[in-house]
């Protein structure tokens, strides 16, 4: 679990066998996946054809252990049930009308198999609902800059001991893992130095290049 996510969750964290719901932000969902994935868990994402796999990799999800089932169609329930049997974290976007009985049966199966079901969308009876209530992207001004980081307002509502809503904010990408992948196109290949009147530019002799490696 990433520290910035763990801070917002109840002290018990997310137990194996539980069903949680994440709403409002896909980045938040990926941030939740990153911890278990880095610890060696297998993840599968069902019914989210728009998931940006590059964003998942940048968030810290190990994409070698990430399987995508973009369009399960009518066999959504069978697909999720089959994945629950063998995959540690199953992310599923529930269909528009999910029968309450089916949701209960899936949750029971999750509890039995000891994996974690993360619903990308609200889920009745979820142990924990993590929702992004607001977002603010930073790094872009009018006409220049690039998107660098995002502050998410996160609200966590649980059941039982965690019933009291917790609210907080988190930054994505996290400060300790800054996104560094500058595109070449943005970096000028050569900089022309204009001579400033009166101050000659000191020309330093560069050492000859050495072959290394």
């Amino acid at each position: 679990m990433l520290p910035e996510v763990a801070r917002l969750l109840p002290p018990t964290g997310v137990r194996r066998g539980s069903t949680i719901a994440v709403t409002g932000s896909t980045s938040l969902l990926l941030a939740l996946l990153a911890g278990p994935s880095a610890a060696g868990a297998w993840c599968a994402v069902v019914g989210v054809p728009t998931l940006g796999a590059a964003a998942a990799a940048e968030a810290g999800v190990v994409i070698d252990r990430l399987a995508l089932v973009p369009s399960p169609g009518r066999q959504w329930a069978e697909t999720v049930a089959a994945l629950v049997d063998g995959v540690d974290v199953v992310v599923a976007r529930p269909p528009a009308r999910l029968a309450a009985g089916l949701a209960r049966r899936l949750a029971a199966r999750v509890r039995d198999r000891g994996c974690v079901l993360v619903s990308a969308g609200s889920w009745d009876g979820a142990e924990l609902t993590v929702s992004a209530t607001g977002a603010q992207w930073h790094g872009v001004e009018s006409g220049y800059g690039r998107l660098r980081s995002c502050r998410l307002d996160v609200r966590v509502v649980g059941r039982g001991s965690a019933a009291r809503p917790r609210q907080g904010e988190m930054w994505l990408p996290a400060y300790d893992r800054p996104a560094v992948d500058l595109p070449i196109a943005q970096v000028p290949s050569s900089v022309e130095l204009a001579p400033v009147a009166g101050t000659p530019i000191p020309v330093t002799e560069l050492p000859p290049l050495e072959a290394v490696g």
């Binding site: 679990m1 763990a6 997310v14 194996r16 409002g24 896909t26 980045s27 911890g35 278990p36 610890a39 060696g40 868990a41 297998w42 599968a44 728009t50 998931l51 940006g52 796999a53 590059a54 964003a55 998942a56 990799a57 968030a59 070698d64 252990r65 399987a67 995508l68 089932v69 973009p70 399960p72 169609g73 069978e78 697909t79 089959a82 994945l83 063998g86 995959v87 540690d88 607001g134 977002a135 992207w137 872009v140 001004e141 009018s142 006409g143 220049y144 800059g145 690039r146 998107l147 660098r148 980081s149 995002c150 990408p173 996104a179 992948d181 500058l182 595109p183 070449i184 196109a185 943005q186």
Partner: protein
């Protein structure tokens, strides 16, 4: 346990087979003076004679190999290719001697007794086989004859310095134990066991064979006992040399018959798991795996693969895929037009190949020579996932069992929805938001689509640096089909981008929603050399009043939302 003498065998070994296969596939030039080495996981797996002459050895790191020989041609290893091009060799052996078994691509074995009577002696049979392979497939192979597979293989591989290279090595009957005596324990092809034995001071096969059988079994388990039998020049003993009972055979029917390797390979995976379960469920393993297929015309194709009771379901599936690949590729290569095939086939003796017009109608996996299943016992000293638990969500199984469990679940979903429904992402090169990764079906080789294979082989898994890529962080939601949008300035006029990549007016509204910050345009002129695929666009990042950001693209005066940073 009675000591039954080993079966006399001919081993056919093609030196540096992965290199030969790469040459046959056209991956490297056929010029033997060029040093070539194949790498797997950054270490030398096989190299050509020219490379060996300049000091390239197996297991050498790539950097070290290239420093010893800067002009070394580096090729990635492809087990499928090795198996595919070995099939003609096996067919050539089979045309001279029946009952050939493939130990691994590059090494095949056949029982010696029958052919030796027919051709008049072991040496004559060996010459016949080598000559047949040279004529039919144009490949140099060395043949060794001895009691037991291990001695025959070693005879083919290491004939001794005084022995002529193209003469077969014949170890006299009953002489296998003496032939093996001075060989190092590494020859057993069990690296872990050999390493342990060396550290115990047991360096040669005769030292190992001299240990008491009960002590070896007690210390090294069933596998160690088998290895000791091999070291003594004996065979691993099957419990029964009878026909396997029908319920051990895993069978599947293809309707319609399959012609494509990938379709057959997908079925092979499930079949291999079934086969594995049937055997292990009864506490059995098998020494050889028989792959039997019928074509839609009723021809039967069979091939034996060495199994040694140690192959996992996945390894069985690999062998089945290789074999199907060999048969189907052979069919495509022979490619006889209909109506002529009867005469043509009789001449070439390619009875085991199938015509390109008919496919494989059914496939069965038959265990041969049943042995008790010793199981893959987990090593006592190999640490399982250790480390301190940081939180309740750590402590996942990181071992192979978890991988296999996940693989089974995903394969089941593939069975439910079709092989293309389960995807996995591979880092790739590309400028668009969805192009930084490419999606490949689960179980297929994880090969990026847009990176040249050479680069991908040089730096497997490395995220490529692609000029003009959208800077990180990447959008978390990428539309498979971009959505049309309207971008207007403060006065409600549509914003455009000029040929010099400037905006006609600052964008102010996205579909009526206020834009609070924007950046761009980032012009992209892709594939201008190809009129059909050429695209000119400019991308923008905009932040709307709700705080979320979107990636927009303008092309031909129309605006699209490509992705959402949510």
């Amino acid at each position: 346990m009675s000591e039954r003498a080993a079966v006399r065998r001919l081993a056919v070994w093609c030196p540096d087979w992965p290199v030969t296969a790469a040459i046959l596939a056209g991956a490297v030039s056929a010029d033997t003076s060029i040093p070539v080495a194949l790498f797997a996981a950054n270490r030398v797996l096989a190299c050509s004679a020219a490379a060996r002459a300049v000091g390239i050895r197996r297991d050498l790191r790539r950097r070290e190999a290239q420093s010893r020989c800067p002009e070394l041609v580096v090729v990635g290893h492809d087990p499928d290719r090795d198996a595919r091009f070995f099939e003609p060799v096996v067919v050539a052996v089979e045309s001279s001697a029946p009952g050939v078994e493939v130990v691994r691509p590059g090494l095949a074995a056949v029982a010696a007794r029958g052919p030796s009577r027919y051709y008049g002696g072991d040496a004559a049979t060996a010459r016949q086989l080598a000559g047949g392979i040279a004529c039919a497939a144009g490949i140099f192979a060395r043949v060794g004859v001895a009691d037991g597979l291990l001695a025959a293989t070693l005879a083919a591989q290491h004939p001794g310095s005084s022995h002529p290279v193209d003469e077969p090595v014949v170890v006299p009957a009953g002489g296998s134990a003496a032939f093996l005596a001075g060989r190092p324990v590494g020859a057993l092809n069990r690296p872990d066991l050999a390493d342990l034995l060396r550290r115990l001071g047991i360096r040669t096969l005769s030292d190992f064979a001299a240990l008491p059988a009960y002590d070896v079994a007690g210390r090294f388990g069933a596998d160690g006992a088998d290895a000791r039998r091999l070291a003594r020049g004996l065979d691993i003993q099957p419990i029964a040399a009878r026909e396997p009972s029908p319920d051990l055979i895993a069978r599947t029917v293809f309707d319609p018959p399959v012609l494509r390797v990938d379709a057959a390979a997908f079925a092979a995976k499930a079949l291999a798991a079934d086969f594995h379960d049937r055997l292990t469920g009864r506490g059995l393993g098998c020494l050889r795996l028989g792959i039997v297929a019928h074509t839609s015309r009723g021809e039967e194709l069979t091939r034996l693969w060495r199994h040694e009771g140690a192959l996992s379901a996945k390894a069985v599936a690999d062998r089945v895929r290789w074999q199907l690949d060999g048969w189907l590729t052979d069919a495509a290569r022979v490619g006889t037009p209909p109506g002529q095939e009867t005469g043509h086939r009789g001449d070439t003796g390619l009875d085991e190949s199938i015509d390109s017009t008919d496919g494989i109608a059914d496939l069965a996996l038959v265990p041969d020579q049943l042995v008790p299943y010793a199981g893959a016992q987990l090593s006592l000293w190999t640490a399982t996932s250790g480390g301190a638990a940081i939180g309740p969500m750590t402590g996942w199984h990181t071992d192979e069992e978890a991988d296999e469990r996940a693989d089974r679940a995903l394969t089941r979903v593939q069975g439910l929805l079709g092989p293309d429904a389960v995807l996995t992402a591979v880092p790739d090169g590309g400028r668009g938001p969805g192009e930084a990764v490419s999606l490949v079906p689960w179980g297929d080789p994880r090969v990026p689509a847009r990176i040249p294979p050479r680069t991908a082989a040089d730096r497997p898994g490395a995220t490529p640096h692609w000029a003009g890529r959208i800077p990180a962080p990447s959008p978390a939601t990428v539309f498979t089909r971009p959505e049309l949008a309207t971008i207007t300035d403060a006065h409600g006029r549509t914003v455009g981008v000029t040929g010099r990549a400037t905006v006609t007016a600052p964008p102010a509204y996205l579909d009526g929603q206020q834009i609070v910050a924007w950046t761009g345009p980032w012009p992209i002129d892709e594939r201008w050399w190809d009129p059909a695929a050429a695209r000119r666009r400019a991308r923008f990042q905009v932040v709307t009043a709700d705080g979320f950001a979107r990636l927009l693209a303008v092309e031909g005066g129309r605006w699209w939302i490509e992705a959402v940073y949510d």
